[in-house]
């Protein structure tokens, strides 16, 4: 088990946005976290990555308690993430965005960086190689010198994934990676995500687009902060509660 939450609960004032969620994520699998708008999916990501702290409950990563750890510490443990609204380093080029995301690996101490030591220069060479490799993987090589803010939306989403991959995560949290993408980009992104799984990453995806179901090993459905279903993609398609709350009563 790579990630486990125990009775995870989050309240904002009187509003319970996450109620007693027990979610487990096995090593190497892709888990789809789905649910209607306002179900608490992004809140779940923010709780796991330490952006928000839970009202009660615990989060374990690889057997370690990571509840209330600061976001940068969570990233250092090997949890990479993307954001739904996809903020970027807009004034940096695509290449620079991914270079910046190599902050953790390979590690250079501040002293090495400041004095430009041999170790730092060797690390920088590795960073450039790794950046080129990641851009290649995500199909961004041809726009690497563009400013991130000038990219079309689909590319910006892919850049978000590239940045998360550059932190060399074992667990990748993708917040609506297909949002706003055109059909071709969706097919490409699904390919990329399954390649990432093949390379050994565990992936948790929040998504509205039902094409993602084909990619998932398991699906976890929440609505108004409550778990309503957990099972295989095939089961989800036939479950009446899910169809009722999520698909509005019409089977897909």
């Amino acid at each position: 088990m790579l990630l486990e939450t125990k009775n995870l609960t989050k309240r904002f004032g009187g509003l319970t946005v996450m109620n007693n969620i027990n979610l487990t994520l096995n090593k190497g699998e892709i888990l789809g976290l789905i649910g209607p708008n306002g179900a608490g999916k992004s809140t779940f990501f923010n709780l796991v990555t330490g952006v928000l702290s839970p009202t009660s409950g615990k989060i374990y990563y690889d057997g370690k308690d990571i509840t209330r750890l600061k976001p940068h510490r969570v990233a250092a443990l090997g949890i990479g993430r993307t954001f739904q609204l996809n903020p970027l380093f807009g004034e940096f080029t695509v290449f620079e965005n991914v270079v910046a995301a190599h902050h953790l690996h390979p590690h250079s101490s501040v002293i090495d960086v400041y004095f430009n030591t041999k170790k730092y220069r060797e690390n920088e060479k590795k960073v450039v190689e790794s950046t080129e490799h990641i851009l290649e993987l995500l199909g961004l090589s041809h726009v690497k010198d563009e400013l991130a803010k000038n990219l079309p939306h689909g590319y910006q989403k892919l850049l978000g994934v590239a940045r998360a991959v550059a932190t060399q995560p074992r667990l990748l949290l993708l917040d609506e990676p297909l949002g706003g993408m055109n059909p071709e980009e969706i097919i490409f992104s699904i390919e990329v995500i399954s390649k990432l799984q093949d390379s050994g990453m565990t992936v948790l995806i929040v998504e509205h687009n039902m094409q993602i179901l084909d990619l998932c090993d398991r699906v976890f459905v929440i609505s108004f902060g409550e778990k309503i279903f957990e099972g295989t993609p095939a089961e989800v398609r036939n479950d009446e509660t899910v169809i009722e709350t999520y698909f509005g009563g019409v089977a897909v």
């Binding site: 990555t49 952006v51 600061k70 976001p71 940068h72 990233a75 250092a76 990479g80 993430r81 954001f83 903020p87 970027l88 380093f89 807009g90 004034e91 940096f92 290449f95 620079e96 270079v99 910046a100 995301a101 902050h103 953790l104 250079s108 501040v110 960086v113 400041y114 430009n116 730092y120 920088e124 450039v128 940045r163 998360a164 550059a166 932190t167």
Partner: protein, 372 residues
Amino acid sequence: MKNTKKISRTSAAVYIILTLFFLLAPIFFKSRTWLNSFVMIFVSVVGTTSLRTIALSGNMSFAHSAFIGVGAYTAGILGKELGLSIFLSIPLGALAAMLLGLITGWPFARLRSIYFCMGSMFMGVAIIQFISAMKITGGAIGLQKIPSMSKALTGLFKGEVASAFLDKLGLGGVQLSYYFFLLITLLCMVILYRFEHSRIGWTLRALSQSPEVAASIGINERFYRQMSVGIGTFCAGIIGATYAHYSTTLSPNGYSMGNTLWLIMYMMIGGQGNFIGPIIGAILLELINQIPSLLTAMSGRPGVSVEFIAFSRFVGRYSAYTPFLTAVALLIVAYIFPGGLVSIPSLIRESSKRRKERKAVVLAEGGEDDAA
């Protein structure tokens, strides 16, 4: 990559010309008034550049002059009360400013935009009020009789041979102090330049664009903000401490918030986008600020014409309008060169390129018309 990009030929040339100018200045400007003005420029250059280092992470500190003051007062008091040599009191002054910067910066590291501005502003005001209220600092009247740098520096060249050597070069105490000041200034510039152009400066820039993304890739926001505050206040402190031993008197007014506002103005007019901007801004605008006192000093010399004296009086009377003129300058910069004064060369280059392109298009279109 930005951090490995070679420094542009124009800015390298400007750095060399400026360094040479200030190295050779004592040969052409022999009077103490001119050297004093240059020293004021050094303080402004280091103050502005180190302020910008703190601002790299996206937060503007309004307490920066107060930290220059902390460095100055610490060195001054250590020299005066404990009789420490300037080679000890100056580094200690810098360390004191840095320590205070780091301690006060700790709770502030989580604040952004207006919260950081207001917080640092009141911090700066509070520091100056403490200095004005204390006895050991001389209170509102100021600290006097600080051991002078020129004595300490000439003391280094004891013996007949050494002093004969100095005489031959025409280096008195004033010139030695000037060169010491220049050395400290260049040292600060090298420290700050390296900081910004290493990956650290780059990380700070990333942080200023999106703190949430920065955290998600493992950047420790507090650590990096504290690092920029530490190095910025260290340089502020060391230049303040050097100034204390140069001028031998200090007054709390010299480090009030108004002075920070000037530093910010220098930075914005010069250009905030790159390292050279605040240097150019500080040199030009501080020089303008110094004009009235330079003119007054010059008109005091024997054999000066009546017209010159009248002119210097006129300028002196209207020097109260400097803030107004500076605000006008800022407006002009904001409308015409949003990148600051240093962006003028690249703007000219671009516009001439565009003109050439337009010409080429017109020619090409003309050609097509003929063909048709």
